[in-house]
Amino acid sequence: DAGVTQSPTHLIKTRGQHVTLRCSPISGHKSVSWYQQVLGQGPQFIFQYYEKEERGRGNFPDRFSARQFPNYSSELNVNALLLGDSALYLCASSPDRGGEKLFFGSGTQLSVL
């Protein structure tokens, strides 16, 4: 079975632009979480979606938004990109609400110039 897939793997944007990152969870998994990881730090929680509704939100500005589709795939959108948004964006899925075991994709490396 395929694991969590994220696209694209790498992305270069300029300040002020908008970006959309995509995630396909493991088949049968209903929960998707998004994390931002800056080099040398731990993953920072952005959002969790379960059954297509936002269930958890981290301390990120409103420029960050996400949604989950009926097939449980998810998109993370970031508007008005800042240099500080440069990071590895990780998506994780879990069969149920989560909280016990997350399955991670390989991430999207975003560089903002």
Binding site: V4, F45, L90, R97, L102, S106, G107
Partner: protein, 111 residues
């Protein structure tokens, strides 16, 4: 914000030695998890210990949990060069809807 804080930040050992990493957290938890990350890519779940458990083993991994001290430790025995990675503890902060990671311990195992 980060719930867990790992100690040490970095650890360098020889192959065959044991590696111990510690994690402290701030609030009550249902469980604590440890993850591994190679070369800044996706994280892999290693082991979970519940709040009513004190010790758990999985292969060369041994995890302990002390809820009175709000701390956990991960022991990797007989380390190998392939164990070189970053290790993170994580706790559930929102009833399954918010898993928070610590800053991680970078382990380097020299062959």
């Amino acid at each position: 914000s980060q719930q867990g804080e790992e100690d040490p930040q970095a650890l360098s050992i020889q192959e065959g030695e044991n590696a111990t990493m510690n994690c402290s957290y701030k609030t009550s938890i249902n469980n604590l998890q440890w993850y591994r990350q190679n070369s800044g890519r996706g994280l892999v779940h290693l082991i979970l210990i519940r709040s009513n458990e004190r010790e758990k083993h999985s292969g060369r991994l041994r995890v302990t949990l002390d809820t009175s001290k709000k701390s956990s430790s991960l022991l990797i025995t007989a380390s190998r060069a392939a164990d070189t990675a970053s290790y993170f503890c994580a706790t559930d902060m929102g009833g399954g809807f918010k898993t928070i990671f610590g800053a991680g311990t970078r382990l380097f195992v020299k062959a």
